[in-house]
């Protein structure tokens, strides 16, 4: 097999396998992370040629500086109302995540996933989009629903797979879906939504509509062929879509180096496709807002897609099934140099004199109360543990618009089986 022996003149090859900067037991090490100063990155006109953005893909669009001041050309200059709304939404998602996480730990449901530390990406992004633009999220953009006022009770009912579950107990918790709220049905199969977002955007363009699409994908999932299809079709047909890569640097136990992060940034993929690309501080709500709006304006002007890498960090475990302490240092998240999106926006508002600790505390308490109340409501309709969604006839619906003969037969059989079980 190995011909090396026959060719001593040739040096032996070896395989490189990327390894994260720190493993359990090691000190957390973010020394490799380059962080340009807030405000230092140029802001091309939204009508600029895609190539003009390619100088930016190795940098980082940041608006909030270390003192929480908004600086530089990317400052979206939002009014205090909007800023407070974004802050409130981020806080609400975090409170919601904590409650649902606890509910899972209490055995009330099978599974849960938090977005701790990544709240700004979905929340500020949603506020920068039009209410009726269509989002194609992953399981870490629950913030989109919150930002668009989707009822908390319904979210919880989905998580509980209970009688009130709008998805009829069919989907794993957190796999929400709502056409009306512009939140595409989440798939358990990674990356598939990314080219679907492009198809939706192409359809909107074909119909002379003005709604755009926003796709989301994780750093690890960019390795799937779907990512390539999305970027290829979006570029070729100038689809009005925003291609968001949420780089939280981990894919379950696998660090982003295995997805290529040792070689270049995810934003740099845009250069390869010749489309616009931005790399953004994902923990800076103002930067997220500004970049999203820039890309949305560009898409609406028929100038095509923008690939945005949101640089962030997965502070918690991948899901309730995961314990990150076995593959990375304990609470690495706390030391993430780009900080916490909520704390940073709060600091900014306080600096503006538009917010203070008391109001923050009060808001947190009311959000907590709101979430607890919603949970009570939801649990009245059951939990996976107590009484889950159980309508056996419904199990056969929506496979097709109408039940064909074989599903009718199986439905009858399932109902008979249920009767037999009760005996």
């Amino acid at each position: 097999m190995n011909k090396q022996a026959e060719r001593p003149n040739r040096p032996a090859l070896c395989l490189h396998v990327p390894e994260p900067s720190a493993r359990p037991g090691d000190a957390v090490d973010f020394s490799h992370v380059e962080i340009p100063a807030a405000g230092s990155v140029r802001r091309p006109d939204a009508g600029a040629a895609a190539a003009e953005t390619h100088a930016l893909v190795h940098s980082l669009v940041r608006v909030l500086d270390d003192e929480g001041k908004a600086v530089g050309p990317w400052d979206p200059k939002l009014d205090p109302e909007t800023l407070r709304r974004i802050l409130r939404d981020m806080m609400l998602v975090r409170v919601y995540d904590d409650r649902m996480y606890r509910a899972q730990r209490q055995g009330k449901t099978s599974f849960y996933m938090k977005c701790t530390g990544e709240e700004a990406i979905a929340i500020a992004g949603a506020h920068a989009l039009d209410r009726d633009d269509m989002c194609f999220p992953t399981y870490r953009q629950q913030g989109l629903l919150v930002a668009r006022d989707y009822p908390l009770v319904q979210m919880m009912c989905q998580v509980y797979s209970n009688r009130g579950d709008p998805l009829k107990g069919r989907q794993l918790p957190i796999m929400y879906a709502s056409n009306h709220y512009g939140f595409f049905t989440i798939s358990g199969n990674l990356a598939t939504q990314f080219p679907q977002a492009v198809g939706w955007a192409m359809a909107s363009a074909i119909r002379g509509d003005s709604r755009i699409a926003a796709g989301y994908i994780g750093d690890g999932s960019t390795a799937e062929g779907d990512f390539h299809a999305a970027c290829t079709f979006a570029g070729v047909y100038r689809a009005p879509v925003i291609l968001n890569v949420v780089n939280n640097q981990w894919a379950i136990s696998t660090f982003s180096g295995i997805a290529g992060a040792e070689l270049t940034t995810f934003a740099a993929r845009a250069v390869g496709y010749g489309i616009a690309g931005l790399r953004v501080d994902g923990n800076d709500a103002l930067a997220v807002y500004a970049a999203t709006r820039w890309a949305a304006d560009r898409a609406r002007a028929n100038l095509g897609p923008t690939l945005i890498e949101f640089f962030t960090y997965r502070v918690e475990g991948h899901s309730t099934s995961d314990d990150p302490s076995v593959y990375r240092p304990q609470n690495a998240g706390a030391e993430w140099p780009l900080g916490d999106p909520i704390a940073r926006l709060k600091q900014h508002l306080v600096g503006l004199g538009e917010w203070d600790d008391d109001r923050h505390k009060a808001l947190l308490d009311s959000l907590d109360a709101e979430v607890r109340a919603a949970q009570k409501e939801a649990e009245k309709l059951g939990t996976l543990q107590s009484d889950p969604y159980l309508d056996i006839a419904s199990m056969f619906e929506d496979v097709f618009e109408e039940l064909p003969w074989h599903l009718k037969e199986q439905q009858a059989q399932a109902l008979a089986e249920a009767k037999a079980k009760r005996r």
Partner: protein, 337 residues
């Protein structure tokens, strides 16, 4: 009414639907200006514009995903996969996404989309231009699988598929695009013109999904076939002088179980023929269904006549293809049993 071959009939279905429904559009490799390697989409770009008939990058995965996104928006995309042998890169989007969209979203979204693709051998295309992967899709809940065997059905079924509100995989037997091939490969090919099913209405009509056609009545044995094999079955029944009832399934899922049951209970024997590899082919499902539902009427085991469990070899195509000789031997045996 016009006389059409299967390509013209399929092309006509596109013209009719794109005329009627502005939401209907086509995409795929080489289907735009060129009109498709088999010319099925000829003239669509010229007539309806590039936005509704355009070439796609060579990414079956992308083609299907884009069609899904378009259907989720509310359009009725018809995507062409150039050869069924090349549908696999799109398999995940078909199986994990298209098939499950209505179910997993509890009806928030449904996907009125069609994936058309030529399948089957008999054209010396070798192992990657001859495959019949239909069985794979029949195992996936949420997809309908349709296979026409003549121009009239091809147009009517394609229109029905486009109007259907669920994803349909539409397999086109490329061997009979231009004429009804009966498996006697040494004989000159007859064009569709001589066949009654080549009389095709110019306008809109549908052949319902889920309904089979009894294309030949008989009492001795029931032959279940679809696509090219319908013609092989008919020719063999004649050649062997067997009073066989030949059923053209037309739709595999949902299959027309009533027509099948009625026939087998009448004849007491059943033979299934398909070109796909034997093991876990759709013939297995049909055999299982027939013996489950007609067991006490069966006088002999349900027989399968199929392609072999090998790739489709280029130079030995006719030794692979389940032609009249293989079918004839099986028929005789099935009647002796």
């Amino acid at each position: 009414m016009s006389v059409m071959n299967m390509i013209q009939a399929l092309n006509s279905a596109h013209h009719v639907m794109m005329e009627r429904d502005p939401a209907c559009l086509v995409l795929g490799e080489d289907i735009g200006y060129f009109g498709g390697v088999f010319r099925v989409t000829e003239g669509l770009q010229k007539k309806f514009g590039k936005e509704r008939a355009f070439d796609s990058p060579i990414s079956e995965n992308g083609i299907v995903a884009i069609a899904i996104g378009m259907a989720a928006y509310g359009l009725r995309p018809v995507a062409e996969i150039q050869f069924a042998d090349y549908i696999y890169p799109g398999f995940d989007q078909i199986v994990s996404e298209a098939a499950k969209m209505r179910y997993r979203s509890a009806g928030e979204w449904h996907l009125p989309m069609v994936i058309r693709t030529p399948y089957g051998g008999g054209i010396f295309g070798g192992q990657t231009h001859s495959q019949s992967p239909e069985a794979l899709f029949t195992h996936i809940a949420g997809i309908k699988t349709v296979i026409p065997s003549n121009p009239y059905d091809a147009k009517g079924l394609l229109i029905a598929a486009i109007e259907d509100n669920d994803p349909v995989i539409f397999f086109e037997p490329k061997r009979i695009y231009n004429g009804p091939f009966d498996g006697f490969y040494e004989r000159p090919v007859t064009p569709w013109a001589k066949h009654p099913a080549a009389e095709v209405p110019d306008g809109h009509y549908t052949v319902p999904l889920g309904k089979a056609a009894v294309v030949r009545e008989g009492d001795a044995i029931t032959i279940l076939a679809y696509g090219t094999m319908v013609h092989v079955a008919l020719a063999t029944a004649v050649a062997e002088g067997v009073d066989a009832e030949v059923i053209d399934l037309r739709t595999l899922v949902p299959v027309d179980i009533e027509t099948i049951e009625e026939s087998v209970k009448k004849t007491g024997r059943c033979l299934i023929v398909h070109e796909a590899t034997r093991t876990s082919g759709f013939g297995a499902e049909l055999a299982a269904l027939v013996q489950e539902r007609c067991f006490y009427h069966l006088e002999a085991p349900v027989t399968r006549v199929t392609g072999w469990d090998t790739p489709y070899p280029h130079s030995m195509e006719w030794a692979y293809f389940p032609g009249p000789v293989r079918l004839g031997l099986a028929l005789r045996k099935a009647l002796e049993d």
